[in-house]
Amino acid sequence: MNLAEGVQIVSFGILAAMMLGAAIGVVLLENIVYSAFLLGGVFISIAGIYLLLNADFVAAAQVLIYVGAVNVLILFAIMLVNKRQDFQPLRRGWIRKAATAVVCAGIFALLSTMIVSTPWAISTATPAGDASVVVIGLHFFSDFLLPFELASVLLLMALIGAVVLARREFLPDDEADRAQVEALRLPERPRELVPSGRDETVN
């Protein structure tokens, strides 16, 4: 084992430990702000692993999008929800947690067995390395042109949808009193509460 391999193994170990520790913290900590910050730690560790795999563009995109945008957005959402409420601890809550743990452990065992037992077909193409940005760009404008352009339609629609959901509605004056009650609601009246529990029990 030469020096480069040793450095790689050590940095993989550190990144993996960071990622697992942070991920367990995200799930187990009670305070949601800590969870959100630890989630940023998970994303950064994943970016480090991408770097180790020679995918520097993906690593940069990971930091920019997940840490820079998604995680900051999550933090904003947490900070904006200014509601102090003490949760009653659930009776027999541990059963739920134990069941979740069993299911997760089962899926983990299944997937890791599958990953270890499968003789993966490794692609014979040479890794792009530093030229990955150029290769990705070429793909975007040749064989991945359709999804690339469709993604722009998707983003446009997401933008319009976000505006629709977030804007303050302008209600015309003559209908103001009626509109206060009825606008932006379903025309159907809500059901009475009595029959609503019925099909949940069947379900």
């Binding site: 299944l110 997937l111 067995t113 599958m114 990953i115 037992s117 499968t118 003789p119 993966w120 077909a121 490794i122 692609s123 014979t124 193409a125 040749s142 064989d143 991945f144 042109l145 359709l146 999804p147 469709l150 993604a151 339609v153 998707l154 446009l156 629609m157 997401a158 319009i160 949808g161 629709v164 959901l165 509605e169 209600l171 209908e175 509109a179 009825e182 606008a183 932006l184 609601r185 379903l186 025309p187 159907e188 009246r189 809500p190 059901r191 029959p195 019925r198 099909d199 069947v202 379900n203």
Partner: protein, 545 residues
């Protein structure tokens, strides 16, 4: 690769129908921006309907296109995709017809509603033809995210908020699972993303029997089953159907479901032929559960929207029978049933929208005695519901007849018998509504019907609703008797699709050229052994050699 050769390879002519929808969408957005909300509500819906119908016309010219594969293998505009794209575009056009009055009355803005609906249509149309994992995922997300937005469109209603949130959370997790399955396929095939080459690469790598492929299959089916609302991935359906604006429910139950079925056929047939026994087993289980649970739970519903939600779960179960059989008749009966389902289900939704707008409720008990006040609505709703139940001269009967006949031919006797039994159950709850409307005496009339306002078709947005109602009524009552064109269309769409013909081992389709000859031979032998009873065209000695 220079620009000219790239342009030839892209073969962009196959997506002209989608381009028309996209241009319509941009026209609606920009004109709404320029002329303002009040003025644009007058005519943007009609632009959108005209665009969608133009797109259907453009699809007609795509029927016999020589080279359906475009965008360097991203998109496959074969005959099957043309039919599914047509169903989706038509369902969107009908949805807009019925949504105009509904959206105006709920005080939301119409142009944005139409924009998001058109984007959902675009996503669904691309999904029906996508032949590559990235394109499949992006179009699936375009369809899903627009559906979440439409679900939460009446944003001051807590039911709508709840529906949107539930749909978003369950949908996001199911599409994450689907993506994990897609990434497993990518890994197992050694870096292939095109559906048609994946199975060949997996076979040549000797991974045909690996557990990884089965896990990929299960994960992919989880994503598909969420879209078509098959039990046990149906939990979102009743709440989302109840809380969404009713036109959105109509689109989700027809357009979105048709897109899901198109994806199911393409993905399962082209990417998973190596495990076709397994996927048929899984889909059979889902079909049985959907038929039983959808139809039985529908019996207990008191709200019309929830009734149609459970009935649509049951209908998805019927359609899945055609998918499982793996014969020509199976696939074409599925396409035929979806075409018929388009008319009758959208007709039923048009009727309940009209009733809701008049009375402000969708409780089944409030329909009592409607016959006395509104014979047209009663007639249309009765015809559509009876057709959904499968009562003889109507369209739904012929759809079910063809499905069950195809199942019987293929030897799927238990499935067909279960389908018949659950159809009988479904007739009970459909007839319950019809009886409520027709049989009640005047003194048993519900309060809503007693105060039923006189019909005024001149209000803004009522005329399109009337057009939708009458055309759905005519289509549902006549499509059964004059079903021959639809029947031929469904059969031809299957016969002209190389992907299905190759899977059925009938002919050496163009796709086969891309595989190494030995693999394709080995593959088609495996497929014919497991998936069809109609493999008589191959001599027995060849199969066993």
């Amino acid at each position: 690769m220079d620009f000219a050769s790239l342009a030839v390879q892209l073969n962009a002519g196959t997506i002209v129908p989608e381009a028309i929808v996209l241009i319509t969408l941009m026209t609606v957005v920009v004109s709404d921006l320029i002329i303002g909300r009040q003025a644009s509500a007058q005519w943007t819906p009609y632009i959108a309907i005209a665009g969608l119908l133009a797109s259907v016309v453009a699809l007609f010219y795509q029927w016999d296109v020589a080279n359906p594969i475009s965008f360097i293998g991203e998109f496959n505009g074969d005959a099957l995709s043309v039919v599914f794209r047509g169903i989706i575009a038509l369902s969107a056009a009908t949805t807009i017809l019925m949504s105009i009055r509904y959206v105006i009355q709920s005080g939301t803005s119409l142009a944005e509603f139409i924009t998001i609906l058109l984007t959902a249509t675009l996503g669904g149309m691309f999904l029906s033809g996508s032949d590559e994992l990235v394109a499949v995922y992006v179009s699936l997300e375009t369809l899903s995210i627009s559906s979440y937005l439409l679900t939460g469109y009446t944003k001051r209603d807590p039911r709508s908020n709840e529906a949107a949130l539930k749909y978003l959370l369950i949908g996001a997790s199911s599409s994450a699972i689907f993506l994990y399955g897609a990434s497993l396929l990518y890994g197992l095939s050694g870096g292939e993303t095109r559906l048609s080459t994946i199975s060949a690469s997996i076979a040549s790598a000797g991974l045909a029997q690996s557990i990884g492929l089965v896990i990929a299959l299960v994960f992919a089916i989880a994503g598909i089953a969420f879209k078509i609302a098959a039990v046990p991935f149906h939990q979102w359906t009743p709440d989302v159907y109840e809380g969404s604006p009713t036109p959105v429910v109509a689109f989700l139950s027809v357009g979105s479901k048709a897109a899901g079925f198109a994806l199911a056929i393409r993905l399962l047939v082209t990417a998973f032929p190596l495990v076709s026994e397994q996927w048929q087993l899984v889909m059979t289980t889902l079909a049985i559960l959907s038929m039983v649970l959808g139809n039985v739970v529908a019996l207990a519903q008191t709200s019309m929207k929830r009734l149609l939600a459970y009935s649509s779960i049951g209908q998805a179960g019927f359609v899945m029978i055609g998918l499982i059989l793996g014969t020509d008749a199976g696939y074409s009966s599925m396409v035929f049933y979806l075409m018929v389902y388009l008319f009758m289900n959208l007709g039923a939704f048009t009727c309940i929208i009209l009733f809701t707008l008049r009375t402000g409720t969708d409780q089944i008990s409030e329909y009592a005695g409607l016959y006395q006040k509104d014979p047209l609505l009663t007639l249309a709703l009765s015809v559509c519901l009876l057709s959904l139940g499968g009562i003889p001269p109507l369209a739904g009967f012929f759809g079910k007849l063809y499905l069950f006949w195809a199942g019987w031919q293929a030897g799927a006797y238990p499935l067909v018998i279960l389908g018949l039994v659950t159809s009988v159950i479904s007739i009970y709850y459909y007839i319950r509504v019809v009886k409520m409307m027709v049989v009640k005496e005047p003194q048993e009339m519900s309060d809503s019907v007693k105060n039923y306002p006189p019909t005024d078709w001149t209000l803004p947005g009522m005329r399109p609703l009337q057009v939708g109602l009458v055309s759905a009524l005519i289509a549902t009552s006549l499509a059964g008797i004059f079903s021959n064109p639809l029947f031929t269309l469904a059969n031809d769409s299957v016969l002209k699709t190389p992907m299905l013909q190759q899977a059925l081992g009938r002919s050496k389709a163009p796709i086969a050229k891309q595989m190494a000859p030995t693999i394709s031979q080995q593959l088609s032998l495996q497929i014919t052994e497991v998936s069809t009873k109609k493999a008589v065209s191959l001599p027995k000695s060849m199969v066993h050699s």
